[in-house]
């Protein structure tokens, strides 16, 4: 058989958040280059945070990413409160959990139904689906908007939440707001059930497997850990969030100038599939049913199935969000907890020098924020470790195994399989570009 030569250059991969290229070279049937390049312009967020007040960190770091704005806000707030020594109230924690559920729902639904579904249905984007399948597109957009409307009620808006800040919330939902949220969540449940049934016949993914280490939050209680917990892995690692640098171990590799992460092996994965593999038994029972129906079983080592894990998490987040709002309705909120902080110019929140870490499960995986502050609450050092950044090495190892396995196929099929693999991780490149190195050939 003739040894194959293949050059794949996907410039500006579409239907992902941010700018990334895929570079694959095969010569004489041998894989020579395999890279996911990040070409987003660097924005220097960690550098810009220095000299700003810790009370501005949430507002600024939310702007790292429009899709994960609530996730960044929550990780930032957790790190800031850790540094300041603030313990949030039960009510605040509950509302933050609700916000995180909405964040996962919003992002996962966008990814499944608007970004991945075109691949499953064999079209280039949702636009051709408007001919003949307009209802499907309308439902997807309606689900996305519902998540957005829920966030409008809870925190003012989804893209760059307004009322979730260090110390709590500047505005708390009123009883009529809780009722409105329950109505929206009930409508979302109907739409999601219909959408799942409609998608199921097409919900098949390439049969590809590669065993790897999965990393995410773990805990000893019965709750599916998203906002709090230790950092754990399917290889049995467990550490506190303060030890995050021992988990992420960022390093530079010779074949690519992008920073990678590793823990117990050459790479690790974070995200919906990692969380499912670590904590599937803690999912809401309805979510467990959906997992069983689509054949998702831990430990699943097919990276394409990350999209399936997202679908399962949508059900969990929806059901738990409904449970939280019902709890809030049954136990009236304490509106004295509404706070006005601004830049804390009135020193309503006591300030001290310190170091704080936030570790939160955002849609694409575990996110770390770390700040050092001086005794005036001014940031002296900042570090953010982004899920997509942690996944980049793992994606490349997947590609190195995948490409030789499918070399006998037509070139356009190979390109599609490769693009779909990268897209399955739901990479968020705006997020990662603040710290990933850009590979520039000269």
């Amino acid at each position: 058989m003739k040894k194959k030569d293949l050059k794949i250059r996907v410039e500006y991969l579409t239907r992902v958040e941010g700018h990334g290229n895929i570079v694959i070279d095969v010569a004489q049937g041998k894989l020579e280059t395999c890279r996911l390049e990040i070409v987003e312009s660097p924005r220097f967020f960690e550098g810009m945070l220095r000299g700003r007040s810790i009370f501005e960190a949430q507002h600024i770091t939310s702007r790292i990413c429009g899709i994960c704005a609530c996730g960044h806000s929550l990780a930032s707030i957790q790190a800031a409160e850790d540094a300041l020594g603030i313990v949030p109230t039960k009510q605040t924690i509950l509302l933050r959990k609700l916000l995180l559920h909405l964040e996962l729902l919003d992002s996962h639904l966008l990814h499944i139904y608007l970004l991945v579904a075109p691949d499953l249905l064999g079209v280039k984007s949702f636009v051709p689906l408007l001919e003949g399948n307009e209802d499907v597109v309308r439902r997807a957009l309606r689900m996305k908007k519902t998540c957005n409307d829920l966030c409008d009620i809870l925190v003012g808006r989804h893209v760059h939440p307004i009322s979730a800040i260090v110390g709590g919330f500047t505005k708390l939902p009123r009883p009529k707001d809780l009722d409105a949220m329950l109505d929206l969540l009930a409508g979302l449940r109907d739409d999601m059930e219909e959408a799942t049934i409609a998608l199921k016949p097409y919900f098949t993914f390439p049969a590809f497997e590669r065993d790897t280490e999965y990393v995410g939050l773990v805990s000893d209680d019965g709750e599916y850990p998203l906002l709090t917990g230790d950092v754990g892995s399917t290889d049995g690692v467990r550490m506190t969030k303060k030890e995050y640098r021992n988990v992420t171990n960022e390093f530079v590799v010779p074949h690519s100038s992008a920073k990678h992460s590793k823990l117990s092996r050459e790479s690790y994965a974070v995200g919906a599939l990692a969380r499912f593999n670590l904590n599937a038994d803690k999912l809401h029972v309805r979510a467990q049913h959906v997992a069983a129906e689509i054949g998702l079983v831990p430990k699943c080592i097919n990276p394409y199935m990350n999209t399936a894990a997202q679908l399962v998490e949508c059900v969990h987040c929806l059901e738990d969000a409904i449970a939280i709002v019902e709890t809030l309705k049954a136990n009236p909120l304490n509106y004295d907890e509404e706070i006005v902080v601004g830049l804390n110019e009135q020193r309503k929140i006591p300030v001290r020098a310190g170091s704080g870490v936030g570790a939160v499960e955002v849609p694409r995986g575990i996110l770390f924020h770390h700040y050092e502050i001086d005794d005036n609450g001014i940031i002296t050092d900042a570090n953010c470790v982004i899920p997509t950044n942690q996944n980049t090495g793992n994606i490349e190892y997947d590609l190195m195994k995948l490409v030789p396995e499918i070399l006998d196929r037509k070139d356009d099929e190979i390109v599609l399989a490769v693009e779909m693999l990268v897209r399955a991780y739901d990479p968020c490149i705006s997020c990662s570009a603040h710290c990933l190195k850009v590979d520039i050939k000269r």
Partner: protein, 248 residues
Amino acid sequence: MKKPKVGIFDFACCEGCQLQLANMGEQVLSLLGSLRVMEWREVMSETWGKKLDIAIVEGSITDPHAVERIQRIRRRASVLIAYGSCATIGGVNGMKNNFVFDEIRKYVYGDSYAFFPTEPTKAVHQVVEVDYFIHGCPVYIPEVVTVLKAALQGIPYYVPDYPVCVECKLNENVCMYDRKVTCLGPVTRAGCNSWCINNGNICYGCRGMVSNPNEKGALDVLAKYGIPTSLVVNKMNMYNKCRELDEP
């Protein structure tokens, strides 16, 4: 009438303003029904690369490659809309201009900082001509619809040149100064319906300054509440640092 051809492009930003379009839900289909979206990398694999009637541009211009790219987009677009604070005023990306560039590159990227060519952050109009501005971080959807309607009809859109306070008063919010915290509402362009203050937070100035801010009035307010001017200047520079690059 032929539907206008539209392209949506992003530069250094969080892409949240593009996401605001998806957040319109089914309403976005009415919008899409009145135009032909030829390029939109975030949600489409289709490419076009030819003449456009309207280019919607998100993000700031922060490196030499971006300068060339925005010039190419400008050449093939009859109308260019700067979309969101990063594009219209530089936005949070402008904070970079507070630092010595080699220092901030080394801080973020270590020894390999030389791989990252960077230039002072610029708003889009500081590089190419802009026909319409949609301010905000993120953009405010009702204003987006108004501007797009104006652009489709070929009539001008005038960004409100009065402060956020005007809208805030109509919304009957208690003034943040009366709640003992500083707020940039008095010097920031309205048009967002005082979105942040309605939700209990302060105005951070994301829409840029009014053309003729009442500086004396603002200084009086600061003096009344004993707030140092430097604190407010530092706040202004979170979104508005790039104003220093505007022609006087």
